[in-house]
Symmetry: C2
Subunit: 260 residues, 2 copies
DNA sequence: GCCTAGGTCCCGTGA
DNA sequence: TCACGGGGCCTAGGC
């Protein structure tokens, strides 16, 4: 049985077939279309060649000729996707009742329509997220400083969760904010909120540490103002061995070239 | 001349053809694949049916059966996309020298390979972005308060740009932060940074106003703590007429149904 | 090139 | 269900 089928017919016939296949197969349309979205914003997309994907969960993605981001899209959870014909034009439209969002795509030319009977039970396996990094710092406190002793991960405050909390040898509280990417001014301010909170609540000296992959001069200046310590960590250099270890069995499968 | 062509052949022949079409046409592969990404994170994607898009700008998008977001992707600007064959497996791989990021996709089965000779010079026309909303408030200051007089848009401070600045009838400075969506705690804190800055620098009384589509109880509580004013604005109800007016000529084109 | 901020952000998690 | 925060965020705009 073929996994992909290329449909033929007039706009009306296509609309009929697509309505039947909707939610059963992934639908891909290559064609010339315009699109209009009305919801959180209004957008109008003039005519051009585009690639439309409609998945079985009724998420819809309209891709242009450039970039990773679609031109228009609709998350799953909207109402049924509607396929219809206006003369020789194939119309694909969605309406999300809750937010009153509408998306209408008008294909004045359809070059190819493909249905894809795809099966996929796999889930993406990721290593190196921010929480992995905080775990790593908990196990390698010397990266923060020679006398840093971690005590708590994900400590809750009214202002949010503190990534990592600990003490130095004098018993001073140290609060660590962990970022995977380069630090932003907002990161520095977020840390300031936490430090202020603890100084108010615990009435003791609190030190702030911001861990990130890089620091701009502007952020460094902010950190000096607040008397916080920046710590640069090159995650990509730290993690490869551990990640490879963790994923080694799946990687074996990968390179052994045996499907599933 | 046909806009879409479905390629045939062994993995080796496909790899050869795709190498030639790369950057000239959009390439779409329906197949069973695994994928591994190593860069800012590491990810491993076990085997499953997927849809791969490679655009002419060498952006690459691998879609699974659900959701708007791709499973794996690569922005344009990486090195050349490489197509090769390992036995009967079609391998698509990328390498971004600057960040040393690699993505390798192994198709053990290819159901269909389509090239799309797409032409698109259109640009997406958007109305209702945050800056449009700030402009609107500048022209309709009464929404902020009966005695609000706007003075400046996009006022720069060391802590970032203030969306909207003005004064009340007593000459007090009013700082307005504008959000299109529901307000988050971070929005409240961002406003606090601006207000603190002005109080420090100008040594005058400063009032803070947060405009958003909605406020959670937690955010309202924060605003009370800081003595800031929340203003709820239903952008979707405010904008339709203006947006339609602005876009009326393009909308005429749209509904007149004449391609391009 | 880096830095900054917005997004129809999307998406997972937890209450 | 909603609120909150991360993301390989992506992308546009400034400098």
């Amino acid at each position: 049985m073929k996994r992909t089928i290329n449909l033929k017919g007039t706009a009306k016939e296509l609309a009929q077939q697509l309505s039947e296949e909707s939610c059963k197969k992934t639908i891909v349309i290559f064609g010339f279309c315009k699109a209009i979205f009305d919801g959180r914003i209004k957008s109008f997309l003039p005519g051009g060649d585009r690639l439309l994907i409609v998945k079985k969960d009724e998420s819809l993605i309209l891709h242009g000729s450039k970039g990773v981001k679609p031109l228009n899209w609709q998350k799953s959870g909207a109402g049924k996707i509607n396929y219809s014909a206006k003369g020789s034009t194939l119309v694909v439209s969605t309406f999300r009742p809750k937010t009153k969002e509408t998306l209408e795509i008008l294909f004045t030319r359809v070059y190819q329509t493909t249905t894809f009977d795809d099966h996929d039970s796999a889930t993406l396996n990721i290593f190196g997220s921010e929480s992995d990094l905080s775990d790593y710092l908990f196990d390698h406190p010397e990266i923060i400083g020679p006398d840093f002793q971690p005590t708590t991960r994900e400590y809750e405050t009214p202002f949010g969760f503190i990534d990592l909390r600990g003490v130095d040898k004098h018993g001073n509280i140290i609060i660590v904010e962990v970022k995977k990417q380069s630090a932003t001014p907002a990161d520095a301010h977020q840390l300031k909120r936490y430090v202020d909170y603890f100084q108010d609540v615990e009435k003791v000296s609190v030190r702030g540490v911001l861990v990130a992959a890089g620091f701009s001069e502007k952020v460094l200046s902010l950190l000096r103002t607040y008397d916080f310590k920046p710590v640069v960590v090159f995650w990509q250099e730290i993690f490869p061995s551990k990640a490879t270890l963790n994923m080694s069995h799946t990687l074996d499968d990968f390179y052994n070239n045996n499907p599933k």
